[in-house]
């Protein structure tokens, strides 16, 4: 018989598999989300030659990191003078 737990009916019979699916699922989704965020939002990644070659300028007043222990980012702005 095919592996138990891969279809809904067999899953109801083996309820102990549910936390396993939840933990593995959260891990996979979290990893995929983080990698996509790095690829698309990181200040050091530029994908094509025609696009913006200085993606870091986008962050001159925004926060990139998930969490910042001191709230400095609220009154943030890049100190470099504009010319």
């Amino acid at each position: 018989m095919p592996m138990q737990g891969m279809s809904f009916s067999s899953l109801k019979k083996h309820t102990a598999l549910i936390p396993l699916f939840v933990c593995v699922g959260v891990g996979c989704v979290g990893c995929a989300y983080y990698c996509l965020r790095l690829a698309t939002r990181s200040p050091e990644v530029a994908w094509n030659k025609k696009g913006d070659q200085s993606p870091w300028n986008y962050y001159s007043d925004k926060q990139y990191k998930f969490y910042s222990p001191n709230i400095d980012y609220s009154k943030l702005e890049s100190p470099a003078p504009k010319y």
């Binding site: 200040p43 870091w56 962050y59 990191k65 222990p69 470099a80 003078p81």
Partner: protein
């Protein structure tokens, strides 16, 4: 806890200042900060002339952030006209 110690500002001593935190470069790799400041200084000078005071902000930053060896090499390249960046 000790977070308070880490977040406390140091006693300001004289006018000793260094390159501030730039949110455009929040990560560990500060190479771009150094290079971008160098480029910005020379572009600023090109656009505004050598006597424009705010350009010196970039000069202070790249002097603090960039190893002297790199700065000497780039300035040598600028003088020889072989610098690869867009100034």
């Amino acid at each position: 806890m000790s977070t308070a110690i880490m977040a406390a500002a140091p006693k300001a001593s004289e006018k000793h200042s260094t390159a501030p935190f730039d949110p455009r470069f929040p990560n560990q790799n500060q190479t771009k900060y150094c290079y971008q400041s160098f480029l910005d200084f020379h572009r600023c000078q090109k656009v505004k002339g050598t006597n424009y005071e705010p350009c010196n902000y970039f000069k202070r930053v790249y002097k603090s952030m960039c190893p002297n060896e790199w700065v000497d090499k780039w300035e040598g390249q600028l003088d020889a006209g072989t610098f690869a960046g867009r100034v």
